[in-house]
Each structure stands twice: as C-alpha cells, then as structure tokens.
C-alpha cells in the first residue's frame, strides 16, 4: 500500500503543473482551439511537432507537461492494476496507458480535418448561395464562418474568418493559397482553389459554374461522410469485446482457484499478450475503417 503514496504525489504534481503552468497566451477550456489566433499560430508550426498537435487538439499545455502527464498516467495505471492483478498484466496496462494519450492526441488532430469535412457541405452551400447573391468572396467567407459559429464552435469558422481578414489586407489569391496550404482537410484546400479560380475569373460570369461544381462537391462530401459513419459501426464490436473480456475476468476471479491462476507466470503472459493484441487490433481496425472510404 505504501507504493501508492509516491504515485499519488506524482499525480498531484502533474495535476498542479497542468493547472498552473505559465501559458504563453491566455486560453480557456477548448475555446482557444477554434479562434483565429490558433489558426494563425498553427500555420507557423511544424505539423509533426508536439506543439502543433497540442494546439490543434485544443490542449492548452506545454509539450513537457504533456509528456509528464503520459509518464504519470503510465505509472499510475501500472500501480493501480498491480493492486488487483500484479505482474506482467500490470506492466502491460502501464505501457498501454502511457501510449494512449499520444494516440488520442494524434486522433484529435486528425479529427480536426474530419470535423471540417463534416461541416464543409453546409459551408459550400452557403458560400455558393452568398456569391450567387452578389457578395464578395471575403464578405461571404466572413458571414458563412460567423453563421457556422452560431450553431456550435467548430474548426471551420476560424479558417474562413482568418482567410477573409487576410483577403482584405493582402493579395486575395495569396490569402486563398494560404488557406489551402494550412488546411488540415484536402476538401477545404480544394475549395480554396475553387475560390481562387472564381476570383481570377472575375466573379460574376463564373457564379453559375461555381454553383454547379459546389453542388457536386457537396454531394461527394455528403456521400463520403455517410459512408464513413456507416463503416464506423463495425468498430462497436471491437470496443465491446474488450469490455466483455474484462468483465468475464472479474467474474471468474471470484473463484479462489481461478484467482490463484491469475498469479501464475504463463497465465500472466497470456493476459499481457492478449491486452497488447487487442490494443494493436483496435488501432489497425480503426485505421482500416478510416481509410476504407
């Protein structure tokens, strides 16, 4: 039981660092994730750096804090599991808990692109309607961004608002190319290129074409989003099976003989390998589903 004291101390230190570590810019909750400042800062960072990932995921913490949190979570997970299931399974759980925050962060960054893709059909529809009604590209982008923000906080609004403001203060084509370059979504980059063509063509005569193409892109995105959601259903069984195994093990461990077998080295190796296999399987299955459509 004494081992819990340093673990609790470590977790408390991590929590204190997490809450009161001096931050370069003032941020609150997840709001900063979707501000124009964030979008601007993101464009200046290396996309593979932890700084970029943390900012893109909306986590207001330093990379060192995040790494410390991963280590603390790994140790905490291992120690807590050790109390119930000592040996190799506890070490495997510690390794998994250490790995999970990094994987979660990567997923959050990727999900920024996916969230943009989900909102883009609505955005494209409004942009096309706004341009058809005679609005200028920066005004339409600004209005569409603000209209999306009314419904809920989203990552598309800061991109549109930042592009609109850049189009007003510098070259329009350059601002749209900037949007394409920093976009985490290929479809948003394509939209930027479409609007670049619209701007270069002089607008009016091109509006009808833009409407037709926007509609087709909208249909493509809707179909892709729907298919991805459908493919995602297959992931449910992967999640359920892990929980079922844990529940069965808990139930079986009520038997004294089974409880004794849980401490045997061969059984621990089997449990440890199974845990690692299930986590690896989850990652593989998830990537297969994401890449399927």
């Amino acid at each position: 039981m004494t081992i819990l004291i340093p673990v609790v101390g470590l977790l408390c230190t991590t929590l204190v660092l997490l809450l009161w570590y001096p931050k370069p810019t003032r941020t609150g909750k997840l709001a900063d994730l979707y501000t124009v400042d964030s979008a601007r800062t993101l464009s200046s960072l290396n996309q593979k750096s932890l700084d970029y990932k943390l900012l893109a995921a909306g986590l207001a913490m330093k990379p060192v804090t995040f790494r410390l949190l991963c280590v603390a979570a790994g140790i905490g997970g291992a120690v807590i599991t050790w109390l119930f299931l000592p040996g190799l399974p506890a070490i495997v759980v510690g390794g998994i808990v250490f790995y999970v925050p990094g994987a979660w962060l990567d997923d959050r960054v990727k999900s920024r692109g996916r969230k943009i893709d989900q909102l883009l059909p609505i955005g494209i529809g409004r942009i096309a309607a706004g341009l058809l009604a005679g609005g200028s590209v920066p005004d339409v982008l600004q209005q569409v961004g603000e209209s999306l923000e009314i419904e809920k906080t989203n990552p598309l609004t800061p991109e549109f608002v930042l592009t609109a403001s850049e189009m007003r203060i510098k070259d329009r084509v350059e601002a749209l190319r900037g949007l394409a370059a920093r976009s985490p979504s290929v479809s948003l980059a394509n939209l930027a290129q479409l609007l670049e063509g619209y701007t270069e063509a002089g607008g009016r005569a091109y509006t009808g074409v833009l409407m037709d193409i926007s509609m087709r892109v909208q249909q493509i995105l809707i179909a892709r989003n729907r298919a991805q959601a459908k493919a995602g259903d297959s992931l449910v069984s992967a999640k359920v099976l892990q929980a079922v195994l844990v529940l069965i093990l808990i139930y079986l461990s009520q038997d004294p003989m089974v409880r004794a077998s849980l401490n045997a080295i061969p059984v621990q190796i089997v449990i440890g390998v199974t845990m690692a296999a299930m986590v690896a399987g989850y990652v593989i299955i998830r990537s297969m589903i994401m890449e399927a459509v």
């Binding site: 394409a180 370059a181 976009s183 290929v186 479809s187 980059a189 394509n190 290129q193 479409l194 063509g197 270069e200 063509a201 091109y206 074409v209 833009l210 037709d212 193409i213 087709r216 892109v217 249909q219 493509i220 179909a223 892709r224 729907r226 298919a227 991805q228 459908k230 493919a231 297959s234 069984s237 992967a238 099976l241 079922v244 195994l245 069965i248 093990l249 079986l252 003989m257 089974v258 004794a260 077998s261 849980l262 045997a264 061969p266 059984v267 089997v270 449990i271 390998v273 199974t274 296999a277 299930m278 690896a280 399987g281 593989i284 299955i285 297969m288 589903i289 890449e291 399927a292 459509v293």
Partner: protein
C-alpha cells in the same frame, strides 16, 4: 541428422542454380540493365545490392502477372514516398531471399518441414504484405480524392482555360491527385501530356484512372470541351457516390480476419488459460 538432409538439399539446389544460370555481368546489358542500373546511374546499395545476384533468375522465372501486380503496388507505395528506388524484380528477390531464410530458420529451430514451410511462406509474404498495405492506403486515398480533383479541372476549364493549362494549375492542389498530376507533368516534359497520363494510368493499374485518361483524350479531340469536361466531372462524382456506399458495406467483411486474429483468438486463449491452468496444475500434482 534430418536437418542435415535438408541443408544438403538446399546447398545442392543453390549449386545447380549457380552453375546453370549466367551470372549478372559487371556492366549489365539488355533487359537486366534497367534492373541493375537505374536511369540516373544510381549505384545499388544496401539490401538491393546484396540481393542483386538473385535479380536475373527472379526476372526470368517469376510469372509476369505477379511482377505486374508488384509493379502496380510499388507505383502507389512510391507515390506515398515509400519503397523509393525499388523495382518489382528487386522486391521479388527480397521475397525469395526472405522465403529461403524463413525456411532455413524454421528447419533449424523446429526441425519440422511443415513449420519450415510456414516460415518460408511467411518470409515470402511479409514484404508484399507491408508494401501492399501502404500501396492500398494510398490507392484508396487517391480514389477518394480524384472526384474532387476532377471538379477543380472542370472549374478551370469553365473559365476558358485550356485543358493542359487547367491540369497544370490544378496540379498545385494539396491532394494526392494533385501530387500524381505533378508527377505526370514532370514525366511529360517534351511529350504529349494526355498520352503520358495514359501511360501512368496503365502503370498505376487503376481502372478509374485509365477510364479518366481515355475520356480526357476524347475530350481533347472534341469541340465542346467545357461541356464534355462538365459531363465527365458529373459522371465521376456519381460513380464515386455510388461506390462509397458499397465500400462502406464491404468494410464489415474486410474486418473479419483482423477481428479473429486480434480479438477472438486471444480472447479464447485467455479464457482457456485462466480456466485451464488450475486443472493443469491439479493434474500435475496427481
């Protein structure tokens, strides 16, 4: 003793190959030249250099279909900047070498021909599985991004831009389709762009791409290019929308093998181990 029999067999087989086949010359010529000396005069290093003696027998004996499939997979892996500078013959040589290594290791470790065969099969399949997985990922990404890319080309052409210029402009797109088009443009220096696109489409072994490049050739010859391009964009979008639903349906069946390997088998083994261990121990005590 049994191990020695197999080792003698392998050695005799290797000796026969060595004596019967012509060795790769120092300055390669003919069909072998492309395999051993890349166009830019790059000298083979590492694995590819070590495996180069296998290249000639492999290129002679490997079925053409397998080499064609490997070439298509390598094409997509290289689009994703992986397995760069490898060609289909070198990769097949690697597979053969790993198959022999797997077989030998299996024989030494277990002494059972069955396990040695499994080791050899695993060694033969492993590089293809790794490279094929990467190729599949990029191929799917490309298929998903192609319809939107064609819309961009259509949009450019609607603004009275010529087809070649529209393809050049849209090649700046961030998508994989844009990257592919940049590659086509680079390869088409001094050649006809659409013909080069058709060649690349055949190399890529992708029906969507072959179909598109053939239609682009027709559009180029036609008079109402903008309208025809608009129709092509519409049909490609419709095809994609239809097939996206089908692919989503197929995901379930594709996941059967990973589910069995990563979930059901470990799940069963764990349950058997937890329940069976006390029984095994009791039987040992008796």
């Amino acid at each position: 003793m049994t191990v020695l029999i197999y080792l003698t067999g392998i050695t005799v087989f290797a000796l026969v190959i060595y004596l019967t086949l012509e060795l790769a010359p120092t300055t390669p010529t003919g069909r072998l030249a492309e395999t051993l000396t890349p166009a830019d005069g790059f000298v083979l290093t590492g694995w590819r250099k070590s495996l180069s003696p296998l290249d000639k027998p492999v290129s002679r004996w490997t079925p053409a279909g397998l080499l064609r499939q490997t070439r298509a997979d390598l094409y997509w892996a290289q689009i994703g900047d992986r397995w760069n500078e490898w060609n289909e013959v070198q990769l097949t040589s690697l597979r053969v070498a790993l198959a022999v290594a797997g077989f030998g290791l299996g024989m030494v470790a277990t002494g059972e021909p069955l396990f040695a065969l499994i080791g050899g099969l695993f060694g033969f399949q492993y590089p293809a599985m790794v490279m094929g997985g990467i190729a599949r990922r990029y191929r799917r990404q490309f298929i998903a991004q192609l319809p939107e890319y064609v819309q961009l080309v259509s949009a450019q052409m609607s603004a009275n831009v010529s087809m070649e210029e529209a393809l050049r402009r849209t090649s700046q797109a961030q998508s994989l389709a844009g990257k592919w088009m940049r590659r086509v443009l680079q390869m088409a220096q001094g050649r006809d762009l659409i013909e080069q696109m058709q060649r690349e489409a055949q190399e890529a072994h992708l029906p969507e791409l072959i179909g598109m490049s053939v239609q682009l050739e027709f559009i180029r010859r036609g008079t109402a290019q903008q309208e025809l391009m608009g129709q092509l964009a519409t049909s490609i979008a419709a095809d994609y929308i239809g097939s996206a639903e089908q692919r989503a349906e197929k995901v379930g069946s594709e996941l059967v093998i990973p589910m069995v390997v990563f979930y059901f088998l470990p799940f069963l083994v764990t349950l058997l181990a937890v329940i069976g261990w006390p029984i095994v121990q009791n039987m040992g005590g008796m």
